[in-house]
Amino acid sequence: MTLYPELTDDARREMLRMMVLIRTYEEAILREYHADKSPGFDIGAGLIPGEMHLSAGQEPVAAGLALHLTTDDAMTATHRPHHVAIAKGVRLREMTAEIFGRETGLGRGRGGHMHLFDPETHFSCSGIIAEGLPPALGQAFAFQRRGTDRVAIAVAGEGAANQGAFHESLNLAALWKLPVVFVIEDNDWGISVPRAKSTSVTSNAVRGAAYGMPGIRVEENSVEGVYDAAGEAIARARAGEGPSLIEVHTLRLWGHFEGDAQGYRTDLEGVPGHDPLPTYRNALVARGVITDDDYATMQASAVERVEDAIDFAKGSPVPDPADALKYVFSEGAHS
């Protein structure tokens, strides 16, 4: 994998390509998720059952990080993990099979959409708010102790930044100079609660100072802003200079989870106009970095990869209920 320290046009194309891939993926999951839940939405029904938190609108965060990371770096994410998982390089087929609850999935169907674990890319996530952060410290700790320059990225929402685990993690990481980068995705909402009703400051970036850690806020859902901030923070971490905090003002394009009618949402009207995907595409076209044809190619190749993954998942065997107790422990009998 190429690392792009400078923001070249190649990097820009790569980021757009990543954003397109993610959006294509989320649209496909959206389609599959709802395909067989009617008439009358039944959350437990269909090929993809359960809660579904999609990340459309938050692609800039993922794409801006991706180019700075190698397979050996680690990432922990949240209940809304697809975009950053894709950016981290998690295999689409196995991830999709997990979301479909198949035996070929990352967790053999035991984990599900909020519990994607990929040892190959050191990716994991958790459905408990902010509790994905502490394990990232441990991965960073292992990297540090082994004298490598690997880093761990710990992603959380702005709602998570009011949770105790956030505070403890930032203090410990700063204290031990762990190679961690904390990335807060501020999409303005924690389910139905707007940031102003959850957070006593207007930007979590100011909270970095409470740990003696650089804190930076990337405005306007800017993928290039993320790229720059992440590049610097990751370089810092690799150089042994310790953790950083990056907050990105991003956008939750859809509901908190699928089925969310968003009656509480006051900003809904303006949302489509803020979609970062056409914005960035148009910017790159205008700057001559890509043509409309390039974009169409990106889309086509994304569709191909995504549909391949969906087909793989759908074609995979479902787990055998007789095996439900397998994998509680790695060794020894089930008690």
Binding site: F41, G44, R110, G111, G159, A160, S192, V328
Partner: protein
């Protein structure tokens, strides 16, 4: 591009108030909302606090519509800071208010259990009875819709094991209203655990008993009294929450084969109505505990021990239909392989009357 959202009623509104034979029927969710609203009208020290309890109305509709009547001053959305806001409930209760605090899923107890079990539950005792904590901690439990290992647990055994808090677990609208009313009026801390599958939500598979007749006036269902949900003579099923319905379904089915099943709905775990359990097995001699919590070191063992420590020779058959000691799997096939399904309950009853051991 924007999402074509399916028609749905996340807030459960459409289910409410379907008159039937002159009797007003409510979903369990509506019954809970009504209990809260009535107590809030009667006592202005009652308030509700939690994540998404305001305009959203509670993720599982426990507070739908309350903010319209009582305003954001008494129906209070919180940050995602369970330790802080549950602690706020405790402090407010110590000062004489009557908070109802929602922990969105019981699965999240691990981020705030210290406030719950070391503070809410112990202050009364540690103060030698001088400080009361009249607080309700309301929380959703249960699986069956592929929400994975961190959002599908029942965990009532964990709460019931730790002293100082009452633990109530309603299975139907009538009990839910009466137990919530009793909980709010109680001077002790009460953990009120509702199974998502009994709420009567429009967007989740539901059973027919999740919408049922509920009196309009306030009433209490006393905390600590089990209910004989169905009388029978051959086998006793002791159970709670959603599993009550599965057990009743199985009992109805097997009645046609001449198998008579008694179903005891515990309604509360603390206090546990050991007399009711004993009375039933004194008739049947056969005990099956059906429990959606993990099997070992929990409710099922306690129910069984409660009988045999009093009358060791009484039981001729004992078995358990619980979640074996495994995290709740995501894939439906696996999840329904470990949940206490009607099929597993039926098999257990057949084994019991046939005198076969279950494995």
């Amino acid at each position: 591009m924007n999402t074509p959202l399916p028609a749905n009623d996340l807030d459960g509104q459409v289910l409410a108030i379907e008159p039937d034979a002159g009797k007003r029927k409510l979903s369990t969710a509506k019954a809970i909302q009504e209990a809260i609203a009535q107590q809030m009208r009667a006592d202005d020290s009652v308030f509700v606090m939690g994540e998404d309890v305001g305009p959203y109305g509670g993720i599982f509709s426990s507070t739908t519509g309350l903010i319209e009547e009582f305003g954001p001053h008494r129906i209070i959305d919180t940050p995602i800071s369970e330790t802080a806001f549950i602690g706020t409930g405790i402090g407010a209760a110590v000062e004489g208010m009557r908070p109802i605090v929602e922990l969105m899923f019981a699965d999240f107890f691990g981020v705030c259990m210290d406030q719950i079990y070391n503070h809410m539950a112990k202050i009364h005792y540690e103060s030698g009875g001088n400080v009361q904590v009249p607080m309700v901690l309301m929380t959703a439990v249960g699986g069956g819709y592929s929400d994975g290992a961190q959002h599908s647990q029942s965990l009532w055994g964990t709460f019931a094991h730790l002293p100082g808090m009452k633990v109530v677990v309603p299975s139907n609208p009538y009990d839910a209203k009466g137990l919530m009313t009793a909980a709010i009026r109680s001077n002790d801390p009460v953990v009120f655990m509702f199974h998502k599958g009994v709420m009567g939500l429009g967007w989740m598979k539901k059973n027919k008993r999740s919408i049922d007749a509920v009196p309009e006036e306030s009433y209490e269902v006393p905390i600590g009294k089990a209910r004989v949900a169905r009388e029978g003579t051959d086998v006793t099923i002791v159970t709670l929450s959603l599993s009550v319905h599965h057990s009743l379904d199985v009992a109805e089915k097997l009645e046609q084969e001449g198998i008579s099943v008694e179903v005891i709905d515990l309604r509360s775990l603390v206090p546990l109505d050991r007399d009711a359990i004993l009375a039933s097995v004194s008739k049947t001699g056969r005990l099956i505990v059906v429990d959606e919590d993990y099997q070992s070191f929990g409710v099922s063992g306690e129910v069984i021990a409660s009988v045999v420590e009093r009358q060791p020779g009484l039981l001729t058959h004992v078995s358990r239909v619980c979640v074996p000691d495994v995290p709740l799997p995501y894939a439906s096939q696996l999840e329904y392989g470990v949940l206490p399904t009607p099929a597993r309950i039926e098999a257990a009853v057949r084994d019991a009357v046939a005198g076969r051991g279950t494995s």
